[in-house]
Symmetry: C2
Subunit: 126 residues, 2 copies
């Protein structure tokens, strides 16, 4: 409620263009290295994860990528309405089982890059 | 045509789940460092770029992010139907002018990470 009021104030004060800035969004760019020969199995599980958490409140993007140069690498780029929504997704039915099933396919997980997604094509302005 | 035939063959042979893999999609995760004090101006121009190229054929995602830890950093994550569509977007009306206007705001451009986007939430399966 306070947040909505604040947004209305900002909208009146500085116009709609600035509305994109005060975002609470949470983004993650994560790289995972599959064990040799397991990349496609890992991709399949991550697409299953996208199906599951994609329906969770606040999940805006959950995109799985491979790499044109690193045969074992998989990228996941996520955008959530808030960090709380991201954290909440871990309790979605089936997610824990999927994590358990996926762990043996992974050789290495890079430290994710955290972002504050602002807007653009494919993401509603907030 | 050959591509379509190949996809039909694969669909028949191994089922719809595998259809997500043979993608020609082109992804880029790019980091740009703004000159001190210019980050918000840079974000504004990149959101304007998203408006312009977001309407170009084959642009699926063009998301602008800031960083929670690096005050001058801006991330752009892009998904295109193909590299050719991405390259073609540089000829969209107004893009060259926007690049010229944006260059002075930039201190440093990191080497982008190229990806092959496969699917997930926010991206149609192909």
């Amino acid at each position: 409620m306070v947040m909505l009021l604040r947004r209305d104030f900002l909208a009146g004060a500085v116009g709609a263009a600035f509305m994109r800035a005060p975002t609470n969004r949470f983004g993650m760019l994560g790289k995972v290295i599959a064990r040799p020969g397991q990349r496609d199995a890992l991709v399949k599980n991550l697409l299953a994860a996208a199906e599951l958490v994609g329906k969770a409140p606040g999940c805006e993007l959950y995109v799985v990528h491979t790499s044109p140069t690193e045969p074992d690498a998989v990228w996941v780029t996520e955008v959530w309405r808030s960090k709380e929504d991201h954290d909440g997704s871990l309790t979605v039915n089936g997610v824990k089982e999927l994590i358990t099933k996926t762990r043996p396919l992974i050789a290495e997980m890079g430290e994710p890059t955290y972002t504050v997604p602002v807007g653009g094509k494919g993401l509603a302005s907030i």
